[in-house]
């Protein structure tokens, strides 16, 4: 019974931790622009993150290696160095976007100037992360992020044409660069690498072993899968509320208005609360991912379970990340714009971290009986192909569409 309870807690945390500013920006715009016609891209992205996360969790549990460990040992120093630099930059942009998002949401809740809110937001996050143990952090943000489920209720409440919704889940194509750009964005928002770095390093922080493979599977399939439902709900709500009047939800607050339309002020508050913790949690994951990546590349001691003084370079790394993100956001750059850059560049760098994980996951020397079977191999390689296509298309599409603005 206790085991079931633990499983449930992990899954809930994964649902709450799934959505971040990438989904809030891309999915809301996707729904407003194309109604349900991009739903299938969410499905492609969500299955992708399930496959990727399941493999990294399994590799971490069985072989004791987190993602960047596999990058360094499997791809060698040179490729790892390139991947490191790219990951650091992307992580910083993403973290800045999430921190900016936290400030924007706080701005909707409190009447204080934005610059102060950025400072308060960063300080709040840093204090929580510094003083709360790892599983506590996972849960605070994961559980409170579940307030976002109000969007699922809102999606149902707003009575969409379910026939059209079902049609949207079937892959289709529209010959337009803007549509293609949003396909890449929606897939990319689901497949963000920092979530996976965090997930696999977290598996090691939680001391997973072979006995935890079921937990890994449940977290990946149910946690990320149900997170995907939330992601779909965001599109449906946005389609119902914004597609008619041609409003472009280019601002985070607009996204929350979808919940208000359905449930009034309570809906709005729940949506904002959920967004605050989902985006705040994403900021934490992002800062940690940066520090994990750096520490694992160089071989430093790492992990929240060590305590700050036991792993000082790791601790400094995430503190510095927060500080840099703070500086970036204080320059006044638009977090929504940062989010688009973060998602698009993440997609471009994705093959570099996906491939070594796939290689280790299928390697019997390291994985023994837990190596990929034929089905996992087939799905794994298929997704590698999809990722390569999406990665190749990302930058050209961003340039052609002028960052999605047409």
């Amino acid at each position: 019974m206790k085991k079931v309870f633990q499983l449930a807690l992990g899954i809930i945390a994964a649902i709450g931790g799934f959505v971040d500013i990438g989904e809030l920006v891309f999915n809301a715009q996707a729904g407003a622009l194309y109604r349900f016609r991009l739903l299938w891209a969410v499905v492609v992205g969500v299955i992708g993150i399930i496959v990727y996360a399941e493999m990294t969790g399994r590799v971490a549990a069985v072989s004791g290696r987190p993602v960047f460990d596999t990058v360094r040992m499997r791809m060698g120093l040179n490729v790892a160095l390139v991947t490191l630099v790219a990951s650091m930059l992307i992580n910083l942009i993403t973290l800045a976007a999430e921190v900016g998002g936290v400030a924007l949401i706080l701005d909707l809740l409190f009447d204080v100037n934005i610059s102060t809110l950025i400072l308060l937001g960063v300080m709040g996050l840093v204090l929580i992360v510094y003083f709360v143990p790892f599983d506590g952090i996972e849960r605070i943000f994961g559980y409170l992020g579940c307030a976002l489920l109000v969007f699922v209720a809102a999606a149902v409440h707003l009575k969409p044409n379910w026939h059209h919704v079902a049609q949207g889940l079937v892959p289709s194509w529209h010959p337009s660069a803007l549509y293609a750009y949003f396909v890449v964005g929606v897939i990319g928002a689901a497949l963000v690498p920092y979530e996976v770095y965090f997930y696999s390093s977290g598996a090691i922080e939680d001391r997973w072993g072979v006995k935890d493979l079921n937990l890994n599977r449940a977290n990946a399939f149910l946690g990320f899968g149900l997170g995907g439902v939330l992601s779909i709900a965001l599109i449906i709500v946005s389609a119902q509320v914004f597609a008619g009047p041609q409003i472009q939800p280019g601002y985070l607050g607009t996204t929350a208005l979808g919940a208000e339309r359905a449930f009034g002020e309570t809906g709005l508050l729940l949506a904002l609360l959920g967004m605050l913790f989902a985006v705040g949690g994403a900021a934490v994951e992002c800062a940690f991912s940066g520090a994990y990546t750096l520490a694992q590349f160089a071989g430093w001691e790492w992990g929240k379970y060590r305590g700050p003084r036991e792993a000082p370079r790791f601790t400094w790394a995430w503190l510095v990340f927060f500080a840099l993100a703070f500086v970036v956001v204080e320059t006044g750059v638009d977090p929504v714009l940062l989010t688009e850059y973060a998602v698009i560049f993440s997609v471009v760098a994705l093959p570099l971290t996906y491939l070594p994980v796939l290689l280790i996951a299928r390697d019997r020397t390291f994985m023994g009986d837990h190596a990929n079977g034929w089905l996992a191999d087939l799905v794994g390689w298929s997704y590698f192909a999809i990722i390569l296509v999406v990665a190749g298309a990302a930058i050209p599409l961003m340039l052609i569409t002028n960052g999605g603005s047409g």
Partner: protein, 122 residues
Amino acid sequence: MTDQPEVNLVYRILDDQLVDVDGRRCGRVDDLAFDGDLGEPPRLWTILSGSGAWHRRLPRPLRTLGARVFGSGTLGLDIAQIPWSQVEGIDAVITLRSKARELGLGRGDEPRSTAAENLPRS
């Protein structure tokens, strides 16, 4: 010779994580040094670990620049030499028989290092 275990060093040893006798992560296998020359098979002599070892692994045109960025490989300063006999086991990580400090590894992560002293207790 064939009944002795054969190992591919790049695949299995190079770039792996080093962990000391207390279970602390303390660097990676950044390079390997062999004792010997042409003729008889050289003996695997030491593990080299530290950013000072990195520049020699870059593509040749970038090595000079790499040495400026990461350190030129001065023993004791930016590179540590760990005798191969210090290796206790090879699994997910490479475990060593001594404490990191005694091997000149992981100096930035020691609890009494400046980096650690400047952090508040949690």
